[in-house]
Amino acid sequence: MNNLGVIFKRELGGYFATPLAYIFIVIFLVLASVFTFYLGAFYEAGQADLNAFFNFHPWLYLFLIPAVAMRLWAEERKSGTIELLMTLPVSRGAMVVGKFLAAWVFVGIALLLTFPMVLTVNYLGNPDNGAIITGYIGSWLLAGGYLAIGSCMSALTKNQVIAFIVSVVACFVFIVSGVSMVQNLFSGWAPQWVLDTIASFSFLIRFDAISKGVLDLRDLLYFFSLMAVWLFATAIVIDLKKAD
């Protein structure tokens, strides 16, 4: 476990050593705010809640999180440092989890820096701050889900761009499984329980449920199991690709 801490610290420090991380945060903050105020018409709607803010997170993350995740393993593989890593007396699991946690905390910091939105909505009216807190928890869990998928995709290839694109596609599948367009594809022939199961794997539906203000154990388990599975898959892929 100690090793995990070392990897986590090294990776997290690594984020702040490059200007790229700041650029990521700035882009995230600006886009989140622009989406909320302009596309979401937050001010014009006149309602003291952060729905207009959180509604765009799944779509914002769809491009930003794969950008963070793409370098997790692809860079190590390309620069050859992965071999060096493998020689360290650190278990593969600790490496995978350590890198993931560092990225997740980094995204969490970016998310926390959106706090002026919370101040704004509290200044304008009397929002349900309980729902806002679960909105943040949900958003962070969502980011974790995207990151875990991105981590696995990054382990698959040496090319960061490919890792990015494949991650976006994979995450997109998880987003749209609850959208009526996709449900339509199945509704003609699949039984209802299949449709409901597909919808229940949708990021959108799970995130929506949490950001309403309720932390349902099932939703939490969904996100945690999703992260665990994709991280496990990352470890398997690294092992399989060891020889490449």
């Binding site: 700041y22 304008l124 009216g125 729902a131 229940s200 309403k212 309720v214």
Partner: protein, 613 residues
């Protein structure tokens, strides 16, 4: 084993395990949730739990939801899931006294016939031509039934109350008994002016459809035991004995709905007619309100510049603004109380103010309020009022918000601590009373909320305000058990920007004055122009003197200028609000990125300096 796990097969196993795990948790872990919303939107309230625990005979609930027709309606399916889960929670908490049947009424199936037979409403879906059922029917051992014909998304905040009410009604199958004492001609009768027969008030007719109404005399000296809710409308002639009877009725747990009025315009009683005085039309509850912690002055009427209604003055005439007749809109209607939460617009005509008495133990919950642009006027200002706009000059709001209707609950003492002579000593105190007081009676008259048409001998009523709904909701709520009354409507879904509203209020009061001035000037100019042109034969317009032409032109110019100023004033009204919006947009979009950039630059500079040093 390890080798298998770290292989392609391992990935497949993992994927399957993930799906299996989440499908299993979906089935096996319902309801394990932490509700962090402020109003505990997703948790059953104590009142509901009490109702469920007190069930003595089983109740069957048939929940109809068209699975097939709703396939693509994700939002509706989510709401359906919430309703279904809430119903399952009811079933779980009722210890076998609720039997829940979830039914999918497929087209042309027996289940569909059943849904239609229950009277559930099918919503036609344009895309597929299917119709969608999303409703609930409940039956008790006596085969009585109650339905919620369709779960509308907009009613989400009333969901728990509606379900609990249904169960509570089925558990107590008799129609609730309402006792009525009225000082107004609510049952119709003869019009003293025209000597024409009058129909009963629509609000009262609607009430009779749901409740068993028993008329009581104004000098009643005991409220019968079987009365659950006592309804008082304009109780101005109640005898002392009747007041004492009401006091004792309320203390022993009876529910009271009282409409009192400082100036009941519908009061055609002899006293009101002969006197022609304002206080001839006033009603009060003697010492009772004071005992329940409410101060009410039957000689003062609430006037409100912002909620004032436009009333017609006759054909061809501009409607007048009547600041004593109020249109109370949702912002001034309590959205958390089950009585008022579903209501959008209520009208009040020359109503009074209810003020909580400081230090009283009884809880005072305002249901309808005036805005801060209101004041109290003596009611005799209305008795000789010819033109409602006569109230406008000299009107000065006192910045108080007045309560026009309130719910009184919690502990209370008797208004007759020494009892009443000739009657045996009664209750002194109660832990919980249930009283709703409305300080207006005119709101129940047809002309204040409903249009009634006679169509081939049938009376068709088209409401334009929710006044009738207030009466039925209040009786409905009060006739339920204490537990049901405590199930409040939850989910204050509307959380307006209070800061913006305040800005709007300020801007409006600032600009109303100048707008009025400009409007007056415009009317004056129009009038002068009309006068000037009236004397002229149109064919001789060309023969106007240069001076006349100049005058007309200058008036026309002035008209254009005033119109422009008016437009500017209206535009200005939103300028402050727009400015705040722009500031917030900029602040949120730019502030943090700028601070971050600065911090990074500073860090970099410091690093350089340190390295050089």
């Amino acid at each position: 084993m390890k080798r298998i796990m770290y292989s392609g097969a391992g990935l497949l196993v993992l994927l399957l395990a993930f799906f299996a795990f989440n499908m299993a948790t979906g089935v096996m872990l319902p309801g394990a949730r932490l509700d962090l919303t402020e109003q505990k939107l997703y948790t059953l309230s104590d009142g509901t739990r009490e109702i469920l625990q007190e069930l003595e005979e089983p109740i069957d609930l048939y929940f109809f939801f068209s699975e097939g027709a709703s396939k693509d309606l994700v939002v509706l399916r989510n709401y359906q899931r919430r309703v279904a889960e809430m119903l399952k929670e009811y079933e779980r908490r009722a210890d076998g006294m609720i039997r829940l049947h979830i039914i999918d009424p497929e087209p042309f199936s027996e289940a569909e016939d059943r849904a239609a037979e229950f009277g559930l409403q099918a919503i036609p879906l344009s895309e597929s031509g299917d119709s969608l059922y999303f409703g609930l029917a409940g039956t008790n051992e006596l085969a009585q039934r109650e339905i919620i014909s369709f779960f509308a998304l907009e009613q989400e905040n009333m969901l728990e109350y509606e379900l609990s009410r249904m169960i509570s009604t089925l558990a107590k199958p008799d129609k609730p008994q309402v006792g009525l004492i009225s000082g107004l001609p609510v049952e119709g009768g003869m019009n003293p002016y025209s000597q024409q027969p009058q129909a009963p008030w629509v609000a009262l007719e609607q009430m009779r459809q749901v409740f068993d109404v028993k008329n009581l005399a104004e000098d009643v000296d005991a409220i019968p035991e079987d009365i659950q809710v006592l309804l008082l409308i304009h109780p101005k002639a109640l005898s002392e004995a009747a007041l004492y009877a009401v006091d004792q009725f309320v203390l022993r747990g009876g529910k009271l709905l009282a409409f009192v009025d400082p100036f009941a315009e519908a009061d055609q009683g002899m006293e009101a007619m002969i006197d022609g005085m304002a206080d001839g039309k006033a009603s009060d509850l003697g010492p009772l309100l004071q005992a329940w912690g409410v101060a009410y002055n039957p000689e003062r009427v609430v006037v409100d510049a912002r909620q004032g209604m436009a009333v017609g003055r006759g054909q061809g005439q501009r409607p007048a603004r009547h600041i004593g007749w109020l249109e109370v809109e949702s912002a001034q209607i309590n959205g958390e109380d089950t009585i008022t939460a579903p209501l959008q617009l209520l009208t009040v005509a020359t109503g009074g103010a209810l003020v909580p008495v400081e230090g009283s133990q009884t809880e005072f919950t305002p249901l309808l309020q005036s805005t801060a642009d209101s004041a109290l006027l003596p009611s005799d200002a209305f008795s000789k009022l010819q033109d409602p706009e006569d109230l406008l000059p000299g009107f000065a709001p006192d910045a108080e918000v007045y309560t026009l209707a309130a719910r009184l609950s919690g502990p209370a003492s008797t208004a007759y601590p020494d009892g009443l002579e000739g009657y045996e000593a009664g209750l002194q105190q109660a832990d919980n009373i249930n009283v709703v007081v409305v300080a207006d009676t005119d709101m129940l008259t047809d002309r204040m909320w409903v249009q009634v048409q006679d169509l081939f001998g049938q009376r068709i009523s088209q409401p334009w305000a929710d006044n009738g709904g207030l009466l039925v909701n209040a009786l409905d709520n009060l006739s339920g058990s204490d537990a049901l009354i405590s199930v409040r409507s939850r989910g204050d879904f509307s959380r307006p920007f209070t800061v913006v509203e305040e800005l709007q209020r300020k801007a409006e009061s600032r600009f109303r004055a100048s707008e009025q001035r400009l409007q007056e000037r415009l009317a004056e100019t129009d009038q002068k122009l009309a006068q000037l042109q009236q004397g002229q034969d149109p064919s001789q317009l060309t023969e106007l003197t240069a001076e006349q032409r100049e005058t007309i032109q200058s008036f026309l110019d002035e008209k254009v200028a005033i119109r422009k100023q008016l437009r500017d004033v209206r535009f200005q009204l939103n300028a402050d609000i727009d400015a705040l919006g722009t500031q917030l947009k900029l602040l949120n979009t730019m502030l943090m990125p700028l601070l971050l950039t600065l911090a990074v630059l500073l860090w970099w500079l410091l690093g350089r300096v340190r390295r050089k040093g």
